[in-house]
Amino acid sequence: MEIKTEQYRICYDRETATVSFSGSLRLSGPEEYQPIAQLLADVADGETRKITLNLQQLEFLNSSGISMLSKFIIEVRKKVGVQISVQGSQSIAWQAKSLKNLQRLMPALILELV
């Protein structure tokens, strides 16, 4: 599963159950984020144990994108037994500031900022 444009790329590696984001995401709202939200939902439907979101190459994410990711976390939170791990980059400033809020939504979420 992959979504790719000039600005960003989101792809799913089934073997490692990892969804990787790269580039810059500034879509205008939930409607435009729907294809990405759908990809994440499809991944969650198929995975029963652990999902990793790798954001280390995601240079920019606007608030509508933060909302979309948060919504996904909240959905997974409802699924018993599915673990989420988020990998981010300490050197990407927005991640150092904003990703910890995902942990507040789901305390069991594993957050690694490398």
């Binding site: 409607e31 608030s63 933060i66 909302s67 909240i74 990407i92 927005w94 500031k97 904003s98």
Partner: protein, 201 residues
């Protein structure tokens, strides 16, 4: 003649709105909202925000030998890019489509920080709702309201906007915010709102 009965003062301010002292270091970018469709224009939000951020780094030089100065520069650049982008997205989305009032963003350098101010027209019927929201923002604990809004968005399949932009600025960037509402034209009525964000750097 306006269709609602509320009494609008010519100018109303909320929160930390200050008339900034004249500055000698600032940028202003102006946009004409009706010149091209929003969808086409959208890419310029990011371009403008990134340009403002990059431009600013000149004033916060990083030293190749000093990693903390480089980190500070990267942080400021990222914060400016994020905040400017959010402010522009809001201005573009909430702009009164019946008005030709221009949108502009101003970024001003101060001794101890930066001041962003974005002005756009806003449809008169939506003023009350927006002012109520502003008052809620000013009274709340941003950290709590942020999580509440995220939970609310997740529960609402039809939510049309995230309502998060201003909250992330308050919560994640510790920004001080203020607003000014002004009647800039009487007949037909045009109301302009200026959103001001102060960032200590």
């Amino acid at each position: 003649m306006t269709t609602d009965n509320r009494l609008i003062k010519m100018i109303q301010t909320f929160g930390n709105f200050i008339e900034p002292t004249p500055s000698q270091e600032y940028l202003i970018i102006g946009f004409s909202p009706s010149s091209i469709p929003l969808k086409q224009r959208w890419r310029n939000n990011g371009l403008s925000a990134d340009f403002l951020a990059d431009y600013l780094t000149t004033f916060y030089p990083g030293n190749q030998d000093d990693s903390s100065a480089l980190t500070r520069q990267a942080e400021i650049k990222s914060a400016v890019s994020y905040i400017a982008n959010e402010l522009l997205e809001n201005a573009m989305k909430f702009n009164d489509e019946n008005s030709h009032y221009p949108i502009d963003i101003k970024l001003q350098l101060e001794k101890d920080g930066l001041i962003f101010s974005v002005a756009n027209s806003i449809s008169p019927p939506s003023v009350d709702k927006f002012q109520t929201y502003i008052q809620k923002l000013l009274a709340c604990d941003p950290s709590e309201m942020y999580i509440d809004q995220l939970e609310k968005n997740a529960a609402d399949d039809n939510c049309s906007g995230s309502g998060l932009g201003l909250l992330t600025m308050l919560n994640d960037y510790s920004a001080k915010m203020g607003w000014k509402f002004e009647i800039v034209q009487k007949d037909p009525e045009v109301i302009a709102v200026t959103t001001m964000v102060q960032l200590t750097v």
